[in-house]
Point group: C2
Chain length 593, copies 2
C-alpha cells in the first residue's frame, strides 16, 4: 500500500518565504493572496489529494478505462465521485478568470495544487489538466462569444476538454496533419479525420467534452502554415447553451499503455463533425503555442510530482524495513537488524531524490510566477522579463524535471529492493506513469531543440543574457557572506559552465545546425543544474537566516549542500559532452545501426 | 511488433578477433572450439532466439503464468514447446560437464547463447537460467552421489532447478533466515518454512524441479554462520532415479510484478518436506558464494541483452518513421518528411546505447573467459589472475550493465516517442523486464558494497593493482601508435581517475566505513567506465589494423570514438561525487526524510 501526503511545509517555504507571493497584493488576482489563504488552499488541496485521489491511484491502474460497444468510455470505479467532488470544491476553477466563473487566483498558487493532484493520481489529474488546456486555448484565441459560451463550464470542470493534435503519421511534425475541414454555408466546418492518443478523449465524468481539433481547411497551404484550430463539442449546444444533439465523432478505441491506465487515451474518429473555427484560418498553431508553455510547465510538474510520491514511499519503507547492520555498528541493537535508512547507498538514492525534488519544485514554482507577472504586472519591464523567462525556462522545466523525475522514481523503486518490483507494493506504477511525461507535450528531445534553436536566440539572446546578469548580480550581492559561500561559489561555477556552453553553441551551432542538435540535450542539462543551483542558493540564504529556529531550515541547508556535492558535478560532464559536437554522432550511415 | 536478430557479427568479433577463444585449444573444453564451431553455435542459437523465443516474448508478457487451484502453475501458451525444443537442441547443456551429459564447452561461448536467449525472451530464459544455478551449486558443493543423481537431468533441462534464498523478513540479509531443517534418522532433513520470490519455483515444463533451499538446522548458530543448503526435489526420486512420490512442498501463490510476467515468481511453502544436505552443516553460504559470481555475470548480461533488444527495435523505428526535416536540409526530399534517424538527438540516444552495448558485451565476455581460465588453465599464475579478475569484475559487470542497460531501454523507448509507450508496439516491455536485473541476485547497491568492501581489499589489493598494471602495460605497449592515441589517452586518463578513487577509498574508507558505503556506487561507475574504455581501446586496435577491409571496422572505430567523447566524461563527475564522502549524505535524522 502506498500513501501520499502533500509536502505542505516545503510548498509553504517556497511560496511564502522564497517567492513571497503574498507581497504581490497590488496585482490583480493577488489581492486576496494572504499567507492564510495560501495555507488554507494548500491544506484543503492536500486533504483531497491524500484522502480522495491517492486511494484511487492504484484502482485506476488496475482497472483502467473500458470502451463500451456504443463508443462510450467507463472510467475506473470511484473516478466519477472524485471528479464530482473536485468540481464541487472549485479547485479546477482556481486560476480561471472571475468573469468565466473562476476564482482568478494566480497560477503560482494553482501549480501547488496541480503538483498535489498529479502526485496523488496522475492519470486522474490529466482529465482536469486537459480541460485546462482547452480552456487556455479558447481564452487565448477564441472570440468573445466562444469564450462566453464555453469557458464557464470548462473552468469548473462541468465540461471536459481535449487537445487533438496527433495523427498516425504525425506527432512532432504537425505540418503533416491530414484531418480536413470543409467550410459550410452557416459559418461552421465539417471536420473529418482520425486523431490518436487523445488523452481524456471520451469518458463518463463530464456533461460534455469540448474537443479542440487541429485540421486543414480544404485548399489551405501545405505544412504548418495551413493548420487551423476548431472547437468540436461532443454534444452540440442547443439554444440555451446546454448540450444538445450528439456530434458526429466517436472514440474508436482505447490505447493499451505502459502506464496512466486510469486515463482514457483515445483514438478519435471525426466524420463530418461540426466544428467552429478558433481565430483566423490557417493560424491554428499560433493559438496552440500560446497555451503550450503553460501545458509544458504542467508536464514538468508531473515529473516532479511522481518523484515526490515515489520518494515519500521509499523514505517510509527505508525507515521501516530491517535488513543488515550499519557499517559503523548496530543502530537498532534491540531489533534483528537495522532499518535500511542507515545504509549509505540507500541514503544516496533518497538524498538524490530529495535534493532534486526540492530544487525542482522551487524552479517550477519560480517559473510559474513569471506566468502571472507576464500578464498582470503594470510594469512593462517586468512583463518583458517574465515573458522572456517563461519562454526560456519552459523547455528546461518540462524536460529536466521529467527526466530526473523518472530517474528518481527508478531510484526510489530500487530502495524497496524486490518489494518495489511487485504490483502489490505499488511503487512500480509511479515509474510507469512517470515515463509518459518525458514524451508527451513535445518529447524531451524536442524541448531541448526548442531551447537551443528558438529560445536562446529570441530577441538576440535577451533572455539568456538577462538570466546570466541576474545570477551575476545575485552572486555579487552575496559575495561577502561566509556561510553562503559554498552556494555562491557553486552558482558562479555552474553559471560559468552554462555560459561556456552558450558560447560554444553560438560559435558552432550556426555554422552547422547539427552541432546545435547534437549539443541540445547536454546543454539543457547544464541549464537545469544551473537553474536548480540558483534555486538552492536562494533557499540556502533564507535557511541560513533562520537556522536554529526550526529543524526544517537545518535540513534544508544539508539538502542544499548535498545537491552541490552530489548532483551538480554532472553539469561538468554534460558540458564536456556538448563540446564534442556532431561529427562522430552523425558519421554512421543509417544502415550501420 | 518487435523483432530480435542476434548481433552475430559483433559476437564473432569479440569471441574470435578480440578474445581469440579459438587459440585456447590446448585447454580442456576448448579442444573443439574452432572458428567454425563458434559460427555454427552462434548461428543456430540466433535462429532459435529469433524464431522461437522472441515471438513468445510478448505472449509471455500478456498471458503471464497462472497458478491453478491445485498449486500447479501453467506457463504462457507456447512456452512448453519452446522449452522442449531447447532441451532437444542441447543448448542448456553446452557448458555442463561431459561426465554429466553436457557438452563441456567453455562458458565464454555459452555466454553468447545466454545473451541471445535473454534478449529474445528474458522471462523464458530465466527457467534454464535458474536450472543452471542449481546445477552449479550441486556441482560446487554436492557429494559425488548427489552429482550423479541430479546433474545429468539438470544439465539437459529435463529437470528444472531453483534457488530458494529470500523469505519475507530477509532478502539481502540472509542471516535472518527462519526456514528450519530437522535432522531425521535416515540422514535426510525435514524442511519447513516459507520462501518468496522464487523464480521458476513451479511450472509445467520440466519433469521434476530440484529446489535448492537455504535453511537453519535446529540448534545451529545464529546469523549467517548457521545456514545450510538442501536439495529438496518436487518429486522425490525412486530407486531408479526417476521422479516418484510428491514431496511436501507447494507453490502458495504467484507474485504480480512490473515485468518478466512469463516467469513464475512463486511463494514456496515447505511443510516437513524431505531434503538432503549439500556439503557440511552450517556451511551453506560457502556453496552459494561459489555459484554466485557466475549467476551475477548472467544477470549483468540480461541488462545488456534487454538493451540490445531495445536498441535494435529503436534503430529500425528510427530508419522508418518519417517526421520533420533534417536540420541541415531534406535528406529524403521525395518523402513527406525525413526518417528520424537524421535528427541528432535521436542519434544521440541510439549511439549512447550502441556504444554502451558493444563495450559492455566485450567486458562481459572478456570477464567470462576468466571464468573458464580460472578452472582450466594449467598455469597457476593464470588461474590466480583469472580468479582475481572474476571476483573483481563480477559486481561491476552485474551492476554497471544492468544500470546502463535499463537506461538504454528507456532511451530506446524514447526514440519511439508516443508509440513507445503503447503496449501495441511492445518496446515498453523491455524497460519493465530490465528493471528487475538491477535488483535481484544482489541489488546493485549490494554489488557496489561488495566491490569496495570485499573485492578491492582481497589479497591486499592484488586484483585491482593487477588490473592497473595490465592497463599501464597496454598503454605503454601502444604508446607509439598515432591512430590509436585517442584511445590510449582516454584509457590512461580513466585509469588515473579509477586509481584516484581507489586511493581515496583506502585513505578514507577504513577510518569511516560510511565513506566506503557512500562512495561505492560512484566508485563502481568509475570502474565500469574504465573497464569499457579498456575494451574499446582493445577493439579499436583490432579495427584500426583491419579498417577499409569491411565497413564493420570503420563503424567500430566511430562507435569507439563516440564512447570516449560522449559516455566517458561521466567518469569525471562520478569521481568528483565519490570524493565528497559520507558526511552530508548521512547528516539527516531518519525522520527528516
Amino acid at each position: 500500500m502506498t500513501s501520499y501526503n502533500a509536502p505542505l511545509r516545503d510548498m509553504q517555504f517556497i511560496l511564502k518565504e522564497m517567492l513571497e507571493i503574498q507581497t504581490y497584493q497590488d496585482l490583480p488576482g493577488f489581492e486576496e493572496v494572504t499567507e492564510d489563504l495560501i495555507d488554507a488552499i494548500l491544506e484543503e488541496g492536500g486533504k483531497y489529494a491524500r484522502d480522495v485521489l491517492h486511494p484511487l491511484n492504484k484502482v485506476g491502474d488496475a482497472h483502467g478505462c473500458v470502451r463500451n460497444d456504443d463508443g462510450s468510455v467507463t472510467t475506473p470505479p470511484g473516478f466519477k465521485d472524485a471528479y464530482d467532488a473536485m468540481v464541487e470544491s472549485g479547485f479546477t476553477a482556481m486560476a480561471a478568470k472571475t468573469e468565466y466563473g473562476g476564482q482568478g487566483l494566480p497560477h503560482v498558487l494553482n501549480v501547488a495544487y496541480s503538483e498535489m493532484s498529479s502526485a496523488a493520481n496522475m492519470a486522474f489529474s490529466m482529465y482536469p489538466g486537459l480541460t485546462h488546456g482547452a480552456y487556455s486555448a479558447i481564452e487565448a484565441g477564441g472570440s468573445d462569444a466562444q469564450k462566453n459560451t464555453y469557458l464557464p463550464n470548462l473552468a469548473t470542470g462541468k465540461w471536459g476538454g481535449t487537445m487533438n493534435l496527433t495523427e498516425p503519421q504525425c506527432g512532432t511534425d504537425l505540418g503533416l496533419i491530414r484531418t480536413k475541414a470543409v467550410p459550410q454555408a452557416d459559418g461552421t466546418y465539417k471536420i473529418t479525420g482520425q486523431k490518436i492518443w487523445i488523452s481524456a478523449g471520451e469518458h463518463d465524468m463530464a456533461d460534455n467534452i469540448i474537443h479542440l481539433v487541429l485540421a486543414r481547411i480544404e485548399g489551405a497551404p501545405e505544412g504548418i502554415k495551413g493548420i487551423s484550430l476548431f472547437i468540436v463539442p461532443k454534444y452540440i449546444l442547443d439554444e440555451n447553451g446546454e448540450p444538445g444533439a450528439r456530434n458526429s465523432l466517436e472514440c474508436g478505441g482505447l490505447e493499451e499503455k505502459m502506464g496512466i491506465h486510469g486515463n482514457a487515451t483515445c483514438v478519435m474518429n471525426y466524420e463530418d463533425a461540426t466544428g467552429w473555427l478558433i481565430g483566423d484560418e490557417n493560424k491554428g498553431m499560433r493559438v496552440m503555442f500560446v497555451m503550450m508553455n503553460a501545458a509544458r510547465l504542467a508536464v514538468g510538474v508531473q515529473g516532479l510530482a511522481q518523484a515526490e510520491l515515489a520518494y515519500q514511499n521509499a523514505a517510509e519503507f527505508a525507515r521501516e524495513r530491517l535488513q543488515s547492520r550499519s557499517l559503523t555498528g548496530p543502530k537498532a541493537p534491540d531489533k534483528p537488524a537495522d532499518p535500511i535508512i542507515v545504509h549509505p547507498d540507500v541514503r544516496r538514492m533518497l538524498m538524490d531524490s530529495k535534493a532534486f525534488i526540492e530544487g525542482g519544485r522551487a524552479f517550477a514554482y519560480w517559473t510559474m510566477l513569471f506566468n502571472d507577472l507576464e500578464h498582470l504586472s503594470p510594469d512593462e519591464k517586468v512583463r518583458e522579463k517574465a515573458s522572456d523567462y517563461m519562454g526560456l525556462m519552459t523547455p528546461v522545466v518540462k524536460s529536466f524535471l521529467t527526466d530526473k523525475g523518472f530517474k528518481a522514481c527508478s531510484d526510489c523503486l530500487q530502495v524497496h529492493g524486490g518489494t518495489g518490483f511487485t504490483k502489490d507494493q505499488g511503487v512500480e506504477q509511479f515509474l510507469r506513469d512517470a515515463k509518459i511525461a518525458m514524451i508527451y507535450e513535445g518529447t524531451n528531445g524536442i524541448q531541448a531543440l526548442d531551447l537551443v534553436g528558438r529560445k536562446l536566440s529570441a530577441n538576440a539572446g535577451r533572455s539568456i543574457f538577462g538570466f546570466f546578469k541576474e545570477i551575476d548580480e545575485w552572486c555579487e550581492a552575496n559575495s561577502g557572506d561566509e556561510e553562503l559561500k559554498p552556494f555562491v561559489d557553486a552558482l558562479g561555477g555552474s553559471k560559468a559552465k552554462l555560459q561556456e556552453g552558450t558560447t560554444w553553441l553560438m560559435q558552432n551551432g550556426m555554422s552547422d545546425f547539427n552541432n546545435a542538435g547534437a549539443a541540445s540535450h547536454d546543454y539543457l542539462n547544464v541549464f537545469g543544474y544551473t537553474a536548480l543551483t540558483y534555486m538552492w542558493a536562494k533557499m540556502a540564504k533564507i535557511a541560513l537566516a533562520k537556522k536554529g529556529s526550526d529543524p526544517f531550515y537545518d535540513q534544508k541547508l544539508v539538502t542544499g549542500r548535498y545537491f552541490i556535492e552530489r548532483l551538480l558535478p554532472e553539469a561538468g560532464s554534460h558540458l564536456e559532452k556538448l563540446k564534442t559536437g556532431a561529427k562522430t554522432m552523425m558519421s554512421l550511415d543509417a544502415e550501420m545501426f
